[in-house]
Amino acid sequence: MSKREISRHTAFCILPPHIIHSIAQNGTSGQRKRALQNLGTDHTFRAFRTTHNLLAPIQTQGPTPLITEGHPQRTIFNAHHTSNLSGDIVRVEGTDPTGDPAVDEAYDGLGATYQFYWEAYQRNSINDEGLKLDAIVHYDVDYDNAFWNGESMAFGDGDGDLFNRFTISLDVIGHELTHGVTEDEAKLVYMYQPGALNESISDVFGSLVKQFKLQQTADQADWLIGQGLFTAKVKGEALRSMKAPGTAYDDAVLGKDPQPMHMRDIVHTSQDNGGVHINSGIPNHAFYLVATKLGGHAWEKAGRIWYETIRDPRLRATASFRAFALLTAANTDRLYGHSSPERQAIIEAWKKVGIKIS
C-alpha cells in the first residue's frame, strides 16, 4: 500500500464516524466527496487494525505440534493410582493396543472425538490448530470421576462398587474434550447459567461423538450421558438423560437425578458451582427437542447450529440461557433462513423448556 493511498484528511481523522456520515449525506459536493473518501479509508484502517490484532497471537506462537490435518496426536499417561497428573507414557499415536482397557478406551475415545470434530465441522482438534490430545488414566484410588484440567483429561477407575472405570463411556470422553473446545471458543464462566451452558455444550457434543461413531440418527440415539458408568448395583442407566432430564437414576445410595428440564424448575444453589451439572438439563433438553424435530443425523443440523453458536463472537462469557438461545436462532437464520423449518424447530424447542425468544 502506498503512502498516498493511506493518507487521510486531517479534519476527518478526528471526527467521529457518525458526524462524517452526516457530512457525507448533507454536506456540499466537495465536503461529501471528501467524507465518502474518508469513510472508505477509515473502514480500511479499522479492518487493518482488527486483522493485525487478530493475527498477533498467532504470529507469536511457535509451530503447532500437529502438522497433518485430519490426524490426531494422542498420548496416554498412567497415573498408577496417584493424583499425579504427569504419570508414565503408556501409549502414543500409531502404536498397538496395550491390553489395558482404560488405556485403550482413552486412546480410542480421543480418536473418535477428534474424527467427529474433523469430519463433521472440519475442526482440527481442541484449538482448531492440531493441539495434541493427552489423557491420564488410573488417576487416584477408587476415583469416581473424570475431569478436564485445562490441558488434558484425567480418568478414574471408579470404586468398582457403584462406578466402573470412567473411560468406558465414549460420550464422557467427548464431554471432557469439548470443555477444551468451549474454553478455546467461548470461555463460558464456570458458574451458574454460563457454567450450566458450558456443561450442556459438553453433553451435547459428547453425545454427538457417540452418535457419530455409531452413525445413529436422532431417533436411534439413547441421549444418555455416562451410560455404562454405573455398576449393576445402582438403580439407574446413566449420569444424565438429555431426552428426559431428572430420570437418569433413582437409587438408595446415590439419590435421585436432580436435573430440571424446564425453567420453572431451575435449581438455585451455591453447590456444584451454582448448579452447573444440575441446570444443564434445561439447554440439554432444548437440544434434544431440536435434534429430534429435525430428524436425521443430529450433528448435521442441530449440532451445526450449536457449533456455530459457540463460535459466535457475540456469545459472551457470562451468557444466560436466553442469550444463548437467541444466538442459536440468529445462527439458524444465517444458516437456513428466517422462514425455515429449522428456525421454527429452534423457537419451539426453547419455548418448551420455558425460554421464549420470539
Binding site: D144, H179, K187, I225
Partner: protein, 104 residues
Amino acid sequence: MQVQLKMEGGLAYIPGLSKPIMIGSETLSTQETAKLKQLLDTAHFFDLPSVIGTPAPGAADYRQYIITVDEDGKHHTVRMVEPIEDPNLQALLTYLKTWRQTIR
C-alpha cells in the same frame, strides 16, 4: 475431635455423594482416632489456609473437598481443589475418603 468431609463438583452432581460425612473420637476406635490425629498433625491442618489450589483456566468437572475439624475448642475449615499436590494432605484425604466409602 470431630472431622467432617464434604465433596463438591465432579462430572455430575449426585445428591447421595454430596452429603457430608462425619467421623471422630466418638465414632472411631482409639487406634483409628490416634491415626486420624496423626494425619491432621502431619498435614499441619490448623495452620493451613482456608483455600488450597485454584482451578486452571477452562478447567471443568474437577472435585473440591471441604474438610472441617473441631478439636479442643479449635475450629478450622479448608477447601481444597484437586489435584491435591501436598502428599500429607493427600494422605489425610485418602483416609477420609476410605471412611466415606465405608459409611455411605
